[in-house]
Symmetry: C2
Subunit: 311 residues, 2 copies
């Protein structure tokens, strides 16, 4: 008799709150989601999450789970799990991990991490990083984040902040960054930066990365230039990370990456120009495999790291 | 009764070959060295090493050892230990690890790694990285290399090449690099690059980093500019690595770093400009502590990782 172990997975974002139960093959067995309440009241967001999870667990189709994993937008105090997600202004230093543990995981292992780290761990366990030991999993979207698996193990860093590839300096003379630094990848490749650069170059359409992507596909030169600049910046950062860490594979997802060649063509050109050593050039650059419920898979993968270590 | 475990340590460089026995506190108990033969004959270099080690082991003061560690200039095929040190042209694909194992370590663990990795591991175990879990140990010299300890463990990467911080891209428009890439830290901060840049700016003294350092201390503007450019490049790379890896401490040694403020002042200025997040700014930047026999300590630290893991 074999019985699959399962995890309760919570995926906390500025747009939606999602919950699910995921088995150890990465299959999302049941799931539910609600829009994240737009509010200044921390309790209102928490109540929405509780209602979501309670209803999921009340469903007879929802089986037992052995551990709880939470993926949440940063920053957070880690591993304590006091979260201050950029896109959930109601939560500042909110004790999410403790509250979830108390309500849903009293006697079970419970863990929280940055959502980009969760995605990287899931792609390593079940997706495009399967079988690889040295994996960088990136998200290029409204922000630029990543998680790292090296030697088969998640890398946390001193304070849980390892993976901030968005703050690799790709152009020392580049723009000021919201982090307080200058020339960071994120200041060039995040969606709003792509839109702002297109506008600077004469783009008169809607100032969003989505609109600029459509314009680029239609041949608008300002729009093409904005994606070329972002793609090259990502390619430079990937070449740097591959040289420093001797990676097997870099997985690049997120809304901006989903524009495909618009980003990946300049990205690969810059990587080819800057990656010299054979060991760097051999690093694979691929799309994620886990699809629309990757956030839940990510949260579950964090939980499985506690109960089913891979090494 | 306590008895210290000891390791046989071999430090293989283009200038000298060194051998020693090091105890598990990092103390070099006995040591000897010879100049590296200048030759095209692989066997001549090997014979010099054998003579050195045999005489060391014949000395009654040399006690027993439990493992053998070798630090050697790269590149090498790792972990197989086929070495092609840039500065030992006689050795190309030379099976150093197998030969050392056969002669000195038949029944004992025996390991080889890049000398920069060995230094980082030793500084983590016994030096400036003691007690820290996330350590980057750099050497800024004729080349720019490093080793990484993350979560208390040495990071090797897919092919043993993790730590190549010299090939972080610090200026996408920068000079061509010997690796085949462009704008790499090493192409700006290695000693010969500092000298070449000073000459470009009008330096008429001896075209070496040592002479340029003296010139800079005497107020020569071209010399000062060359060190400022190198220091800033190192600062940018350190800020990037600290953001990506959430490091406790970055240790910077090697001949160029030993010029002190000439390098460290622009380095810290660039770090302060580019490191935005609190978790990055809090990373300590320090000098190594292990001194002139650090190469032997490094080789020994690799060996102790096999017999006395730290975690």
């Amino acid at each position: 008799m074999t019985s699959q172990v399962a995890a309760l997975a919570l995926d906390i974002g500025g747009t939606k709150l999602a919950a699910g139960v995921v088995d150890s093959r990465g299959v999302v067995l049941v799931h539910a989601r609600v829009p994240t309440p737009v509010t200044d009241d921390a309790g209102v967001v928490w109540a929405a999450l509780v209602a979501l999870v309670d209803s999921l667990l009340a469903d007879p189709a929802t089986g037992r789970f052995a551990a709880v994993g939470i993926g949440c937008g940063g920053p957070m105090v880690w591993p304590a799990g006091l979260v201050s997600p950029l896109n959930i202004p109601a939560w500042r230093g909110f004790p999410l991990l403790d509250l979830v543990r108390e309500r849903y995981a009293r006697t079970k292992p419970c863990v929280i991490h940055n959502d980009a780290v969760a995605l990287a761990v899931a792609e390593h366990r079940w997706g495009a990083g399967r079988g690889a030991d040295h994996v960088l999993g990136m998200v290029v979207s409204t922000g630029v984040g990543a998680g790292l698996v090296l030697g088969g193990h998640r890398v946390d860093g001193t304070s849980g902040n390892a993976g901030h590839i968005g703050h690799l300096i790709v152009d020392p003379q580049g723009p000021d960054c919201a982090c307080g630094g200058r020339g960071c990848l994120e200041s060039i490749a995040r969606g709003p930066a792509i839109a702002a650069y297109a506008v600077e170059r004469g783009w008169t359409g809607e100032p969003t990365a989505v609109a600029v992507a459509t314009g680029a596909r239609e041949g608008n030169l300002a729009a093409i230039a904005a994606f070329a600049r972002a793609g090259r910046a990502v390619g430079v950062a990937v070449a740097s990370a591959a040289a420093l860490l001797d990676l097997d594979v870099v997985i690049i997802g997120g809304g901006i990456a989903e524009t495909g060649d618009l980003l990946f063509e300049p990205l690969r050109a810059a990587f080819d120009e800057h990656a010299g050593f054979e060991f760097v050039r051999r690093c694979r650059i691929v799309a994620p495999e886990l699809g629309p419920r990757a956030g839940l898979s990510g949260a579950a993968a964090l939980a499985f790291d506690l109960v089913i270590p891979q090494h």
